[in-house]
Structures are given as C-alpha cells and as structure tokens.
C-alpha cells in the first residue's frame, strides 16, 4: 500500500530520470591532464543511474499465463514504458560508514500505471581493522559462484537469469565479517555470519514470522581455488547446507559449481486429479558451470542447474491443463471460479521464472567485434532440459559514450504444447534500454 506522498515522490523521480537522460549532453573528453584533487576522498559521496526502458510484447494467446493474466482483457500486444532512478550514497566518518541504496521506478503500459520506491540497502558499517567488519541494517547478500542461478544463496533474493547483474533489495540484519590471510597453500580464510530476524514489518517476505535466523559462510582460497561452506538455520525457512567452488583451469577457462542440501522442504503440488497435495522432504539443488574466453574476446558462460525443489514436467503439464480447462470453463459457462483457483495455485511456485527441475543456461558475447570499441553483441539462451522448451535472447550493448549504456534485446520463447516456455505470457519481447550513470 502506498500513500500519496510516496506516489508523488515516485513520479518526481520518474520525471527526473527523463530529465537526466535528455538534458545531459554526451561528454567529450579533453586532453591528457590529470587533476588528482578532483579524486580526493570525500566524507559524503553519491551516485547512481537514471534509465528509461521501452518493452513491446507480442502476447501468446495460447499460453497458460496469458489466460491467467488477460482473460478479462484480451489483447495481442502490450507496450510498457519504465523510468527508473537508482541512488546510492555513502557517508564515512572514521571507522563508521553509512551506505544507502534507493530504487524508484514508474511503469506505464496499455492498461495501468504503477510505481515503486524501495530501500534496497541502508546499513551502518563499522570497520575497526582490515580483519573485521560489523554491519547493521539492510544489506544485499549474493552468495554462490553461479552466474544465472545460486542454489547456495540461502539469504539472497532470486535473481533474473536474463539480468543477473542488476542490484536487488536486501534484508535487515546484523553481520560480522572476519578475514585472515596466510602464506602457503591456504591463502585466505574468511567467515561471514548474518543474524536475520523475521517479524511484523521486518523481512516479512523472507519466511515464517517471529523467528531469528542465522546464516554463515566460511570462505577459503586454497590452492588457487575459491571454496565456500554455507549454512542457514532458523525457523523462518528450513535448515540448509551448501558448498561452492570456483577455479581457473587456465587463464581463460574458469569452472564453478554449487551444491545445496535443503532439509524439510515443504511444497504443494497438483495431483492427477487436479487436487493440491502437500509434500515435505529433503531436496538437492546444484549447479555446474564454466566461463571460457577466446582469443577474439568471445566470452561463453554455460551452466547446468538442477532444482530439486522445482516441479517435474508432468506436474507442470497438469497445471497448464488446469488453466486450459479453466479457460474453456469460462468460455462455456461464464464462470471464472476455476480460473481463480488456477491463479491461486500459480502463486505457489508454478509462476516462478524457472519452475521446472533441470535447466541449461548459455550466454555468449563478444567485446569490440569488427574493431568497434565498446560494442558488445551477445546471446542468452535458457533451455528447460525436461520439456525442451527455451527462450533465446540476442542483444546488443553499446557503452561508447561516457556514462551512457544503450541496450537492445529481443527475447523469443518457444516449445511444444504444455511446455514451460510455450505457456508463458509472451511470444516474444523487444526491449530498448537507455541508462545514464551519474
């Protein structure tokens, strides 16, 4: 629920984003001079970006999620404009530092206007020595070595594999970070512990309320290999254990992996009789990946992800069939009761971005091809290995104007009947994004 003040604030930020993007000239740099005084550290520093994004979506009228989201407003295309402003600031005094990260966005599509104002981070950090740091407040954690997915990210929010490098909202807690370096095979050991309470208005979306949770990560750099041991315990979510690693086999070839063991995982799934059945048990999630760079500066990232907590192909198929039945029911009887039931069930994991069990991720991009500096064409593919459906996203990125980032991306989804990507809301999506950093 947003109050009027918040709404006005969002709109001001939305228009400020436009103002930034269209009023600032593309800066032309001058000579070899280097005025170091301009880079002296200051107690207060801030920065951020302003962005506008246009998305055109061709809707998939045969898709289950089109049926769920547009049954009362049928259309074949959807255009959406989004203005975003992100501000980060830091105030430092002695061994104390305050860090803040705000994100405001306003969206307008053919039907609606919506906006949001989120405090991604707001924390106080105490750094008495290089060996120890204490953090108090809201902070984003991104644990794990995977690029697209992080099975061991026990206190992370799920990231979007199509945009895994975007900032995300953190959780409120208290953390202690200890580091020790050594000579020899074991070069570094670091321990990060986080206390994460869940109460009314505090981390409510994390899990069950009125519990205090503990997460810890033990990192080591051993024989040139990054290794993490991770544990989460507390009653907001079930106890879970994880391990990850990352290592360069050669200077241009890196491998990484993650393994998570989640105890007492609870889930509702759709039975053959279209009834919701609860199940509980231990599940495993794991990921294996590599990153390879060729002499011509082509970077390839490949990851295999198994999500033991995902739905099987037949379970997903049953859900898509339920939506089909509900849609037919609506057309035949005019009743949307079954559709509402399907909508409720979709919120129990079936509508998650990757709701299945086994995926393959591929990202290829080439920096500066054809001697065009700051130009990066690329391709992202996510393949559901169980039902063979996929999304494919070619994109081009240009960063040649100082502080500007221009990106155009087309995403096409495909697959057979009742497969994950074939049942999504969109058939394809064209996205143009302009971002200005300040």
């Amino acid at each position: 629920m947003r109050n009027n003040g918040c709404r006005i604030c969002c709109r001001v930020l939305f228009f400020a984003a436009f103002l930034f993007l269209f009023s600032l000239p593309v800066k032309a740099e001058d000579d070899y001079s280097f005025d170091i005084a301009a880079f002296e550290p200051k107690p207060f520093e801030f920065g951020g970006y302003a962005e506008i994004k246009w998305e055109h979506m061709d809707l998939n009228k045969e898709g289950a999620f089109y049926g769920l989201n547009f049954y009362d407003d049928p259309r074949s295309t959807l255009d959406r404009f989004t203005g975003t402003m992100q501000l980060d600031g830091r105030y430092k005094k002695g061994i104390w530092t305050f860090n803040g990260l705000l994100n405001a966005a306003g969206r307008h599509d053919n039907n609606d206007w919506s906006d949001s104002l989120d405090v991604f981070e707001a924390n106080l950090s105490l750094k008495p020595t290089p060996f120890a740091t204490v953090d108090l407040g809201k902070k984003t954690f991104k644990w794990g070595k995977g690029y697209a997915w992080n099975p061991v990210g026990f206190i992370d929010r799920s990231k979007d594999p199509n945009d895994p490098e975007e900032a995300m909202e953190g959780y409120i807690g208290a953390g202690l970070d200890l580091i020790k370096s050594f000579d020899g095979s074991m070069q570094t050991i670091a321990l990060t512990t986080v206390v994460l309470p869940v109460r009314e208005d505090v981390n409510e979306d994390f899990g069950e309320k009125d519990h205090v949770n503990l997460a810890a990560k033990l990192y080591m750099l051993y024989l040139d290999t990054d290794i993490d041991f991770i544990i989460f315990t507390g009653n907001s979510r079930s106890t879970r254990y994880g391990i990850d690693f990352s290592r360069n086999l050669t200077t241009n070839f890196e491998i990484h992996g993650e393994f998570a063991y989640i105890t007492d995982f609870k889930q509702n799934y759709l039975s053959e009789t279209e009834e919701l059945i609860p199940r509980e048990g231990s599940v495993k999630r794991y990921l294996a990946g590599l990153r390879y760079l060729t002499e011509s500066d082509i970077t390839t990232i490949i990851e295999f992800y198994h999500n033991g907590a995902g739905f099987s192909e037949s379970e997903l198929g049953r859900f898509y069939q339920l939506v089909d039945d509900a849609y037919t029911d609506l057309q035949n009887t005019g009743s949307d009761a079954l559709l509402q039931k399907a909508k409720n069930i979709s919120g129990m994991g079936y509508a998650a971005p990757q709701a299945g069990r086994n995926y393959l991720y591929l990202k290829i991009n080439q920096k500066d091809p054809f001697d065009i500096l700051y130009f990066t064409p690329g391709l992202i593919t996510i393949l559901n290995l169980d039902d063979q459906s996929y999304s494919i996203s070619p994109e081009i990125l240009y960063t040649g104007f100082t502080n500007w980032e221009l990106r155009m991306r087309l995403t096409v989804l495909n697959g057979g009947n009742h497969t994950e990507f074939e049942e999504k809301q969109n058939e394809d999506k064209l996205e143009c994004r302009i971002r200005y950093h300040f």
Binding site: E29, Y32, F39, P41, S125, T188, N248
Partner: protein, 244 residues
C-alpha cells in the same frame, strides 16, 4: 683433444649464458624498483583513444603489496565507479557493486576495453613474471629478452629497451608464444614522484590487433604504503575505497 675443446666450449657457453641470465634478471629487478616501490598506493588515469580521436577516460586507485598482491579500484567514470579488480598471483577477480560478489576474470580480458588488458592494469613486477637475458647493450641502452616463467602470464615474451641513465624502460614489445607482436608499450615523460622515485609518468600503447587505436596511462601519485595482507582478499574488495 677434440673432446676437451668441445667440452670447454660447452662449459664457457653455459657459464656465459647463465652469467647473462643473472645479469638480465638483476637488471629487471632494478627496473622494477625504479618503476615502483614493492608496496605502494597509486592514482592513474587511463585514456582509450579511437581512430577518430574520440576518447574515453578512467581513473583508478591502486594498491600493491609484495610480489603478487594488487587491487585496482575505479573512481571514474560514474558508470564504472566502485568496480574493483583483485590480483593474487595468477588469480584475478572483478567486483561490480550491483553484482555484489567478485567473479573470476582472466588476464587477457579487458575490463575497460581498448588496448590495455587486465594484466596491464594489474601489472605485477616484471621480475616476478619473467626471466630476462641481455640481448644487446649500447651506449644508451640495454635490450632485454624476457621469457614468461609460466604459461599463465599474459605475454609469453617481452623485448624491453631500458635506458641506461635512468634504468627504466623506454619501449617494451609484447609477443605471444607464436612470436606475434601483441602490443608495444612506450614509457614517456620522466617525473619526480618524491621519496626518490623518478620514473616515466606516461605509458602509451598501441597494437597491430587494434589498428588506429591507442591507450594511455598517466601516473599522478605513487606513494610507499604499508598494507595488511587481508586487504587483498575477496571479502575486502567491496571496501577498498576506505584505504584512500
């Protein structure tokens, strides 16, 4: 008799070549110490110049400790601010604030585009990565042939022209194992940085692989600095700015 002559010739060849090798390595160590203290903090500006003359600039704060520990933090432009790269021997990581965790990168990549790659930006002492022999000596200069100690070093061979008077490099040709010239570095504009450090303040580079492009590094401040080993760890990367 023939045996003795052959053995003697072989002996002198081994002795003389090893003597050259020692001299070359000592010379390379001297070059390193004249370029920078073993542990220091430094500010640099990096400029990429395109064939049409347009430029893109980056400012980096760098700290180094001992033979194999180095961190570089981007201070400018705004789009790169807060990015930090860490090097521990052959291992390199890049930290991007929005990504929130360090990812492994390779020495051949370039986090800034242009002719400089990561190993140029996070360059350790030449003597820690290369064995050197003196190829040629003239009145004004030495020419050193440097061979990478391991295959993980970005350039397999260097041909380094060292000024005898200042004992700092003038030009360095960087070659791949195949012998292909990857780039040439030009050290220019000797400047007194204080505390006895007199060295080139500008490093230019061009490459036959990037015809018409040029990259320049300008050094503004190099100070000796004592640093804890823990500064050169993944957990510390998000906080490097606090060393300034």
């Amino acid at each position: 008799m023939k045996k003795y002559i052959t053995a003697s010739l072989l002996f002198f060849w081994v002795v003389s070549s090893s003597a050259f090798a020692i001299d070359g390595n000592e010379l390379l160590e001297k070059v390193d110490r004249n370029l920078q203290p073993e542990s220091y903090e430094m500010y640099r500006k990096l400029i990429n110049i395109e064939p049409d003359g347009s430029k893109k600039e980056y400012v980096l704060f760098t700290v180094k400790k001992g033979q194999d520990k180095m961190v570089a933090l981007f201070l400018s432009p705004a789009s790169e601010k807060g990015r930090a790269t860490l090097r521990l021997g052959d291992n390199m990581w890049l930290y991007i604030p929005s990504v929130g965790k360090p990812i492994r990168i390779t020495s051949l990549q370039s986090v800034v585009g242009g002719v400089f790659n990561n190993s140029d930006i996070l360059r350790l002492d030449y003597s820690s990565e290369y064995d050197a022999t003196i190829l040629e000596e003239t009145e004004e200069s030495y020419v050193l042939a440097c061979k990478a100690k391991t295959s993980s070093v970005a350039y397999d061979r260097l041909k380094m022209n060292v000024d005898k008077k200042t004992m700092v490099p003038v030009t360095i040709e960087c070659h791949a194992a195949s012998g292909m010239l990857i780039k040439t570095l030009y050290y220019k504009e000797i400047k007194d940085f204080g505390d006895g450090l007199v060295r080139p303040s500008v490093l230019e580079t061009d490459s036959p692989l990037y015809k018409g492009y040029k990259s320049v590094m300008i050094y503004a401040k190099i100070n000796k600095k004592e640093l804890a080993d823990e500064v050169f760890t993944l957990n510390y990367l998000p906080r490097v700015d606090e060393l300034r």
